[in-house]
Amino acid sequence: MAEQLPLHFEFRANQTFNDFFPGTNREIVTHLQRCVAGLGEQQIFLWGKSGLGKTHLLQACCHQAQRQNIRSFYFDLAHAELPDPAILDGLDEYDVVCFDNIECIAGNADWELAFFNFFNRHRDRGHKLIVSSCAAPNDLAIRLPDLKTRLNWGLALKIQPLTDSDRIAALIFKADQMGFEIAPQTGRFLLTHYDRDLAGLWALLEKLDKASLAAKRKLTVPFLKQILNEDSHD
């Protein structure tokens, strides 16, 4: 079967609050926005399963801070090995500090102690700390009891998975940002016949975008079946 290869267009999807589909998590977005702007909590602990958008929200906090000329810092602790805790030196000067996947430091005595010290210095200056984790603060395997208590000080927010109808709305929202349309029935078809995890759906969306560009077709259900079929034969 002949196949036209499409150009590789890139959408530098920004991870801002505007690009986030909140669904039932609207309140979390408000809390984070107020926190960054200095109008809300000083510390937020965001937790929930992976693939729900924690990283996106933390990045969005930094984007917002940047726009408001607030000094911010983001670091994802889940990458490969933990860096030298010296990375925390001088960080207390930043108005907004975001640590993604804080659970990764649990059990590492050096990091726990360094983070505890950073926490105190940073908090004394009245700066904001936003951390994310896969588990609630109490369920973290942090050994340093004082650090565990401190992580509990702030507001703990649990990010909720989207309902099915919100997931469809999120798909349509995301597709719209990529410049194409997905009809609600197409979205429903994808949810019932394919991945239900959001990260998986985004990857699928990119594949569909490419396929519809190559074939110059709209994403109808019959066309989807064809793409997904070809995919399983590869």
């Binding site: 002949a2 196949e3 036209q4 150009l7 590789h8 890139e10 959408f11 530098r12 410049g179 194409f180």
Partner: protein, 366 residues
């Protein structure tokens, strides 16, 4: 309202305006042309709510007033009157009377007050460009625009101004065209806007005088271009043009130089027997030689061989013959230069030397 005008003065502006007016209308008044007389000037306006063209014509004797008349009927009347005819136009009650020599017409009309205003925001950016220069930029890019793609940004043309640099980009996702030029006067701004497909095609038709100086004004929503006695306005595509820079960041095979005319003729002949839908033609390239071949579901086959200038590894790549023909036909030089990415993932087509434009055709997997 009353005026007398020579057929030659009104015919061209009227034709230009009628071409933006859609044949089928949801609002009857949109099939009309708005005619306003103020002082010694007649202003004609036509719109489809996305694009608007205004023409201003100086007139000797006239009584002021305004009205809208069915555009196509009015154009046909003017067009079919003899050359140089004097046309007398007069509004009487709810009819427009048109008279010339022994011809008499009475047209139904609609009041000017109901004519929809073209909403335009403040246009903060402006630049000046020569019409011939702009027309060339459009000619080298418009053929790559998509038609009715679900991605709105592809059904249009990217206009990127960075201070004194002008860049136009069009793509349907299978091929892409980039044109770059310098503006005579630096603009002091950086902006990226997308002109809608229909607007681009209409605009291109209006740029028939290469000597004319254009004033281009735009915001993020609208563009307005002053072309002699015409004002062209369009709503812009509300979307972001995607990044395609990655296509340049790769390794390439050595350049292939081919006589453009031979390439066009051979491709056209081979394409006769290509699959009607995909038009796939395979290129087998080796030092000094290009072999094109194709076949279709009916088991017909075609082959052509061309002498080319190429040194390097042999390679095989397939294209939609039509895309390649479109690109090659838009080259100004005798020689076509093909540069193929070393993983055969794309092909750049341009002229020898620096020509300011480049076409990219994506290959097919056969």
């Amino acid at each position: 309202m009353k005026f007398i005008i020579n057929r030659e003065e009104i015919l061209l502006p009227l034709q230009q305006i009628v071409s933006v007016i859609e044949k089928r209308q949801t609002m009857p008044i949109l099939s009309n042309v708005l005619m306003v007389i103020e002082g010694d000037q007649l202003t004609l306006t036509g719109t489809d709510l996305e694009i608007q063209i205004i023409a201003k014509i100086n007139i000797a004797t006239a009584d002021p007033g305004s009205i809208t008349v069915p555009a196509r009927k009015f154009l046909d009347i003017c067009r079919l009157l003899p050359n140089g005819a004097e046309i007398k136009f007069e509004l009487q009650d709810d009819k427009v009377k048109i008279a010339s020599s022994r011809s008499r017409f009475s047209l139904s009309c609609l009041p000017a007050d109901n004519y929809p205003e073209f909403a335009e925001s403040e246009l903060e950016n402006h630049l000046f460009i020569n019409a011939g220069k702009f027309k060339k930029a459009l000619d080298k890019t418009v053929f790559c625009m998509a038609n009715q793609d679900v991605r709105y940004y592809l059904n249009g043309l990217l206009l990127n101004v960075s201070n004194s640099k002008l860049k136009l980009v069009a793509s349907d996702g299978h091929r892409l065209s980039i044109y770059e030029d310098n503006l005579d006067q630096p603009t002091g701004f950086e902006s990226r806007i997308i002109l809608p497909r229909k607007g681009v095609l209409e605009l291109s038709r209006l740029l028939d005088d290469p000597e004319a100086e254009l004033k281009v004004e735009f915001s993020s929503n609208n563009i307005r271009i002053f072309i002699k006695n015409l004002i062209f306005s369009a709503k812009l595509v509300d979307s972001k043009y995607p990044d395609f820079g990655k296509v340049f960041q790769q390794e390439f095979f050595n350049q292939i130089h081919i006589q453009k005319q031979f390439l066009k003729e051979a491709l056209t002949r081979v394409a006769i027997l290509a699959n009607e839908k995909f038009k796939g033609v395979t290129f087998d390239i080796s030092p000094g030689s290009l072999k094109m071949s194709t076949h279709n579901p009916e088991h017909d086959e075609a082959e052509e061989e061309l002498v080319i200038e190429y040194t390097g590894e042999p390679l095989t790549i397939a294209f939609n013959a039509q895309y390649l023909l479109d690109a090659v036909s838009n080259l100004d030089s005798e020689l076509a230069v093909l540069t193929i990415a070393s993983n055969a993932s794309s092909c750049f087509i341009d002229e020898p030397g620096d020509c300011g434009y480049k076409f990219i055709v994506m290959p097919m997997r056969l």
